[in-house]
């Protein structure tokens, strides 16, 4: 049995040299400038958390790093060398493994085939199917889900189950840098916990991790660095020593109102009984937004 790996040597890099460095990177899709002048440094043994509003450009950023899109401005350096990855395959050969938000699995292919896609185990020229099934099942159990029939097409699994498979795959094959785009969004409490533990484990194993999330609590649990994107710009870039969870939450759009929201909603007696109604289109009145919220929104 041969285990193929794109980066088999264990390299020890000088800790101060970042493995990946983005300088003034910009990206436009036609008339949309999704990213503008973004600077980002990824170091091995650290978790870089990228946070930001919907549409801020987080996914665009990681798609550039993982070779799915090319950037249109600035420079990206890997090990100090300017790189344009032509395809995700090139990026992977450099040791970058990514869990995308929307691109994950071929829905008609079964679980184990998806798990090992592009990293198949072979026995001579042929696939080593028993081993692949075993490894795949084990890895999924480690992530906290059991899928009894690994020959089921992934398209028939629940959203969360699919997400777990994608994460398990990236972590299993992970090389120098692991990128996770909102990995816990579709996950239950238990699976989220497992994923966070894995992120910490990966960091401790000396990998560089980029972790995108909307949940400041999750970010603060594992993050070493925090980058907040706003409308394609970096609006905050701080080490965790420079920041508290409260500050981080406050920096996120809408973060300030989070606490108020709880009060506001709790104030509405949740046990109260209202008269049943059928409501015509537009009949649900929009919640009253206060001045702060309104101006915050207009910034978007």
């Amino acid at each position: 049995m041969t285990i193929e790996t794109h980066a088999s040597e264990l390299t020890v890099v000088d800790q101060d040299e970042p493995i990946l460095e983005l300088v003034d990177v910009g990206k436009s899709y036609g008339n949309v400038n999704a990213l503008r002048g973004v600077n980002l440094t990824v170091r091995q043994g650290e978790v870089t958390c990228v946070l930001g509003d919907n549409g801020a450009g987080k996914s665009t950023l990681i798609k550039i790093i993982s070779g799915l899109h090319d950037y249109t401005d600035g420079t990206m350096k890997m090990h100090g060398e300017v790189r344009h990855f032509g395809s995700p395959r090139v990026a992977q050969a450099e040791g970058i493994a990514t869990v995308y938000q929307d691109l994950a699995l071929a829905p008609l292919m079964c679980v184990w085939r998806n798990f090992f896609l592009a990293n198949e185990l072979r026995n001579g020229p042929f696939l080593d199917i028993p081993t692949m099934k075993r490894v795949c099942g084990e890895e999924l159990v480690k992530m906290g889900i059991v899928i009894p029939d690994l020959d089921r097409p992934v398209g028939s699994l629940s959203g969360g189950q699919q997400q777990v498979i994608a994460i398990a795959r990236a972590i299993h094959f992970g090389a120098k840098v692991i990128i996770l785009d909102e990995p816990t969004a579709a996950l239950g409490v238990k699976q989220s916990g497992v994923v966070l533990k894995y992120i910490a484990a990966a960091r401790d194993a000396g990998l560089g991790v980029i972790f995108i999330t909307h949940n400041p609590h999750h970010a603060f649990l594992v993050g070493s660095h925090f980058v907040i994107l706003k409308l394609g710009h970096v609006s905050l870039d701080a080490h965790r020593d420079e920041l508290t969870l409260e500050q981080l939450t406050g920096e996120m759009a809408g973060g300030q109102e989070l606490a108020e929201l709880s009060h506001e909603l709790r104030a509405v007696d949740p046990g109260k009984v209202v008269e049943a109604h059928t409501v015509a289109p537009g009949g649900v009145s929009a919640p009253v937004l206060d001045q702060d919220e309104l101006s915050g929104m207009k910034d978007v």
Partner: protein, 345 residues
Amino acid sequence: MTTATVTPTDDRVRTRSAISSTLRRPEVGALIAAVVVALLFLAVAPAFRSVGNIGTILYGSSTIGIMAVAVALLMIGGEFDLSAGVAVTTSGLAAAHLSWYFGLNVWVGVLFALVLSLAIGAFNGWLLHRTGLPSFLVTLGTFFVLQGANLAITRMVAGGVSSNSLNDIDGFGSAHAVFASSFDIGPIGIQIPVIFWIILTVIGSFLLLRTRYGNWIFSSGGDPAAARAVGVPVTVTKIALFMGVGFCAWLLGMHNLFNYNNVQSGQGVGNEFIYIIAAVIGGCLLTGGYGSVVGASVGALIFGMTQLGITYAGWDPDWFKTFLGIMLIAATLVNLYVKRKADAR
């Protein structure tokens, strides 16, 4: 917490019986459909019952099946090849013209045709990749271009619309033996393309299900963006699939050339659809990402049996196409029905 209640698996999932897992495979439905079609013709067509005719049916199916194997792989990989029919003719013509015009050993022509066929396949794949056009359009372009070239070059080289006979050129005998011989197994006369067909089916099936490359094919067809994102070389995979079609076109082209001694430049037009039909009857999805090589071969068998069976049964030839259409739909419905029943168990 006690460990007594621990259940290691999700008890909601019933393990499938071996039989129902088997029935779910895409080729099994096609096989059952083939049996149904065969039974029908056995019942209505006396000539169909004679063992000696198996050879004819297999031969008729093999000339579809050789191409259907490659076309099915291509379709599972998410692409079409509308030039597959004329490419067979192009390959035959290329070999014939080169050998005849320069008086070279036919094997030189055969090799040249192989290179040309692979090159056409590679060109299709490359153009697809470069332009980003759908393969329907790209290969439609190739289809027209080859059709014109077949005719025009044949007129230029051979001075007519069919290639000249190669009987008396060196190497004809050995080439004929390789590409167009036949032998008997008991009462059944087997032509060599039947053997090619079976070998290709086995290789194609292994390739698809038991090699890394098969995984890439499934994913390139099922979700090319996702496949690319996880590092599958989608472009290379697709180009190779087109070249596979080129290879099979060459094989069939050589058979046609040496079995019928010459190739007419207008031949092959329309056959591309028969190959696609065989693949679809055999359970391949038009949208890619799902299907089976064995299924496609069985699809070719169903098509071949139906085509000849209608003649064996002596049904009114005016209604030939109507019978054909109904039988094909019926066979596909049997396939679908088996799959649904198996899924629901």
